[in-house]
């Protein structure tokens, strides 16, 4: 029953988002092909999707807090590199301890790599000792597409005013080699440091690397 409810809520949230997206397209220059993709330096697109808890999480609720978005797919070799070395978990722990809201988003559609039910997602969080604030389920891909998430991992940072201040890779080593975690420059950490120091993010956009997001 609850699954049914949550699916419907996701659908409703999706419709709202699509509407918002359409509105924002009209406001901007509208190349017909373009989806309304989140742009660094502009307001982060609103979303309201279900967390594994069954409760909806919206960006609007996070006003006044820094928000990290992490697109993931637990079977993707690039994601595994960062989880099996403990790199992603360390960053989650470090940032959430400072009051940052960390939202892990799964946009794999049912039947594709990385798709999980709420229960499986929670099990993964436990088994991998991860500590996101919430894990959001986006099987329709509506949030992923609005953010232009193409890869897993694909990272975003939204500042306290709701502006998107970073979009791109987790670090500067676009490989699956575990050894490359050591000594890599972590762009998310650097962006958080810039924001904490009250200056503009020095590297606000990078090429995300990883597996493609398995949209429907």
């Amino acid at each position: 029953m609850s699954t049914h409810d949550s699916t419907r809520r996701t659908f409703l949230a999706g419709t709202t988002l699509a509407g918002l997206a359409a509105l924002s397209i009209r406001g901007l220059t509208p190349p017909a092909w373009a989806a309304a993709v989140a742009k660094v330096g502009e307001a982060a697109p609103a979303f309201a999707i279900d967390a594994t808890t069954g409760k909806g999480v919206s960006l609007a609720d996070q006003r006044g807090k820094l928000v990290v978005l992490e697109w993931t797919n637990h079977d993707c070799p690039y994601v595994r590199k960062h989880y099996e070395t403990g790199n992603m978990q360390a960053l989650q722990k470090e940032t959430t301890a400072q009051g940052v809201v960390w939202l892990t988003v799964i946009s794999s559609s049912p039947g594709t790599q990385g798709y999980v039910t709420a229960k499986q997602a929670d099990e993964l969080t436990t088994s991998r000792k991860a500590s996101p604030t919430s894990v959001l389920l986006d099987p329709t891909g509506v949030a992923g597409k609005v953010y232009g998430a193409t890869n897993t991992p694909h990272m975003y940072l939204i500042d306290k005013n709701g502006l998107l201040v970073y979009a791109g890779a987790i670090d500067d080593r676009p490989t699956t080699r575990r050894a490359d975690v050591q000594g890599a420059q972590n762009y998310v950490r650097a962006a958080l440091e810039d924001v904490a120091a009250g200056r503009a993010v020095r590297t606000p956009a990078t090429r995300a690397y990883g597996c493609t997001v398995k949209y429907a």
């Binding site: 220059t29 190349p31 092909w33 373009a34 989806a35 742009k39 660094v40 330096g41 079977d75 993707c76 070799p77 690039y78 594709t112 790599q113 992923g144 597409k145 232009g148 193409t150 890869n151 979009a167 791109g168 676009p174 490989t175 699956t176 080699r177 606000p204 956009a205 990078t206 090429r207 995300a208 690397y209 990883g210 597996c211 493609t212 997001v213 398995k214 949209y215």
Partner: protein
């Protein structure tokens, strides 16, 4: 397990064991990509660079990536463990395909790809020993999902003395890969960016839009352009323009954009795709960024200064000096009269500059790549200019008295109320100034030509104003005229002296004609000079003859001049052709094709290679750069004494069309190799896509 599947597994296992040097990815699952290090040569010559390649055979439905994998994915790499002294280059990347995966665009390869790498061994290798090149290859292979794979590579080759033997299989693979590796773009490229779009402009004038079936720009790095967005392509007389949405890296549109331009061209037998590596530099003149006032003002300033300096150049100075001398004699004339002459002169200069600049701007709009002094590319115009300078010089020397007309000496100036003379002098000064370039002018003209036409015109007019200014000021400001020396006999001597810069200018222009039109052109130009001298003598010295006859004789002589020009233009292509081969074909010494030349060469028993080509043919251009210009091909031609003829079909010459038709083709490129011996033997037709190897092989066979 059924018997059948057991058998299948056994066969698979056998095939794996027996296939030549298989290298498989480690792990329990079967690899999606089989890699192998292949070599072009069967042995290593000490110190001599050779090519190896990473061959990837990719399972159906899967793909690997290009150097810029796109929105996702990862390029393959090799970590080498080389023997001491060995160095290797980077991968040479064949043109990739576009692989769209969901909301991402990636660039990569399906089925198979060969990535060549150059290897330079040390010079102190000992022949007779064996060397093993080792490395670990890593790559990402994706279908819906992505799998990183890796495998060890090893290639053992003997060290040999002299030229090593060819490894037939490896050489064939590498040769085929080379055909799809981008060549350096022969065209200049630039781009302009708005917050939404990037417009790439490739200066490739003369391409035939109907032959080009597809154009796509593959950026070398992620971020400058949106990879998923459509690329709106226009091919016109000026070249190729691509409009595409901007990428997500804001700063990427400030730096040059590197990448590969893929152009697919329709040929007789199908479509071929060519890659050109190019770097587009930001023009700074994007739609959003109009020319700053500061840069416009500085260009106007430079143009004005350039115009002023033009007055001192040898082709202009005499004209203007005589004009100024006129003022000396007119010291007593009414100020208003003088000012009117000065203004008429200035108007003459400005109108002529507007005409020249307008023609230049209009021609550039049609895609001609012209600069200041473009008229001088025509030998006929240069000859006319030489004759004009010669006539003016004669008049300054006192040999003819047309000086009043041309240079507006004092008496004539005072005598002409219409100011037509002054206006004409302005026009003459402009014409005389065209072969001269003054300091400061280059920067201003360069700036002007990159601007929209009103700005360009403004800059040219500033240049004209600079040219007109000294004389204009002399006529407008009476105080300045007091600086001029008193009239006297020195004026005649100065006038005669000033003839010599003009003679020198004329001589220089004849030399220019010799470059453009060869000996025939020089002959025509010098014959004209003699005729002008003769005409001036007729005009001046037939004192006893009635004026009418004198005039008729002069006109008759002068009338020969246009005939000379016509003759020169008709002969010019011959002269120019014989002068030198176009620079694009250095090395092979191409001669222009004619059926007679072909027959003569064959009759003398020599083999002949005919290159049917055209300026608008992209494939021809690539073939010339990739194969025909190489020194190895030149050596092969020289060894067999092959006569190289070039049939230029740029203007769709009907004679060449007929010959193409007789060889069963309707278009270019076509490469025909006529073997030596009986002139009736049919030629061998080479493939439309040449490589060094195919050309040399064909030549070696004859």
């Amino acid at each position: 397990m059924s018997l059948r599947s057991a058998l299948a597994m056994l066969l698979c296992a056998l095939a794996t064991t027996l296939s030549p040097r298989p290298v498989t990815a480690q792990g329990t699952e079967a690899p999606r990509v089989r890699v192998e290090l292949v070599s072009e040569v069967a042995g290593i010559a000490p110190g001599q660079t050779f090519w190896v390649a990473l061959q990837q055979r990719i399972a159906p439905g899967w793909h690997t990536y290009w150097m810029n994998p796109g929105d996702s994915g990862e390029a393959p790499r090799i970590e080498w463990s080389l023997p001491p002294g060995f160095t290797v280059g980077e991968f040479a990347w064949p043109l990739p395909d576009r692989i769209r995966v969901g909301s991402a665009m990636t660039y990569g390869y399906s089925e198979s790809v060969v990535l060549p790498i150059s290897v330079t061994p040390p010079a102190d290798l000992v022949p007779g020993t064996r060397v093993t090149l080792k490395g670990q290859a890593g790559w990402l292979v994706c279908e819906e999902i992505c799998i990183p794979e890796e495998a060890p590579l090893a290639l053992t080759l003997p060290v040999v003395r002299g030229a090593p033997a060819v490894d037939a299989r490896g050489a064939a693979l590498i040769e085929a890969a080379r055909r799809s590796i981008p060549t350096q773009s022969p065209w200049r490229a630039s781009f302009a960016a708005t917050p939404q779009d990037v417009t790439l402009m490739v200066d490739a004038p003369g391409l035939a839009a109907d032959r080009i079936s597809e154009v796509w720009f593959y950026p070398a790095r992620w971020g400058a352009i949106d990879l998923t967005a459509p690329q709106r392509v226009r091919v016109d007389a000026a070249g190729i323009t691509i409009d595409v949405a901007r990428g997500r890296l804001t700063e990427a549109a400030a730096a040059p954009i590197e990448g590969v331009l893929a152009v697919a061209e329709r040929l007789d037998g199908g479509t071929v795709r060519h890659g050109f590596s190019m770097t587009a530099s930001p023009t700074g003149l994007g739609v959003t960024k109009p020319t700053s006032l500061a840069s416009l003002l500085s260009a106007l300033g430079l143009a004005l200064a350039g115009g002023l300096v033009l007055n001192l150049m040898p082709c202009v100075l005499p004209v203007l000096s005589i004009k100024a001398l006129g003022l000396v004699q007119l010291a007593g004339a009414r100020a208003a009269t003088l000012a009117r002459h000065g203004l008429a002169y200035t108007a003459g200069v400005l109108v002529s500059f507007a005409i020249v600049a307008g023609a230049l701007i209009a021609l550039r709009a049609t895609g001609e790549r012209l600069g200041w002094g473009f008229q001088l590319q025509s030998p006929a115009f240069v000859t006319l200019l030489a004759w004009l300078f010669f006539t003016m010089a004669l008049s300054l020397s006192g040999a003819i008295v047309v000086s009043t007309r041309f240079t507006g000496a004092g008496q004539a100036l005072a005598a002409r109320p219409g100011h037509v003379g002054s206006f004409a002098t302005g026009a003459l000064a402009t014409v005389a100034a065209t072969p001269c370039t003054a300091p400061f002018m280059g920067a201003a003209v360069g700036f002007a030509l990159a601007q929209p036409w009103p700005t360009a015109l403004l800059v040219f007019e500033a240049l004209g104003l600079g040219l007109a200014l000294p004389y204009l000021l002399l006529t407008l400001v009476p105080a300045w005229r007091r600086l001029l020396p008193k009239p006297g006999p020195w004026m005649t001597r100065l006038k005669q002296l000033l003839a010599f810069p003009l003679y020198a200018s004329a001589a220089w222009l004849v030399w220019v004609v010799s470059q453009q039109a060869g000996p025939h052109g020089v002959g025509a130009a010098l014959a004209g000079v003699v005729l002008i001298a003769f005409a001036s003598w007729l005009h001046q010295s037939l004192g006893g003859v009635r004026a009418l006859w004198r005039r008729v004789a002069t006109v008759a002589v002068v009338a020969v001049l246009p005939a000379l020009i016509v003759g020169m233009v008709a002969l010019a292509p011959l002269g120019a052709g014989a002068r030198s081969a176009p620079p694009a074909n250095e090395g092979l010494g191409w001669e222009p094709f004619s059926p007679e030349r072909l027959a003569a060469a064959r009759a003398s028993g020599k083999p002949v290679f005919v290159n049917f080509t055209a300026a608008w043919c992209v494939t021809c251009l690539v073939n010339e750069r990739v194969a025909l210009r190489s020194s190895a091909v030149a050596d092969a031609f020289a060894k067999k004494g092959v006569v190289a003829l070039k049939a230029d079909w740029t203007a769709r010459d009907p004679m060449i069309s007929r010959i193409l038709g007789s060889l069963g083709r309707s278009g270019v490129p076509l490469y025909a190799l006529y073997p030596p011996g009986s002139p009736s033997t049919a030629p061998t037709l080479l493939p439309q896509l040449l490589t060094e190897g195919t050309v040399i092989e064909a030549i070696d066979k004859i």
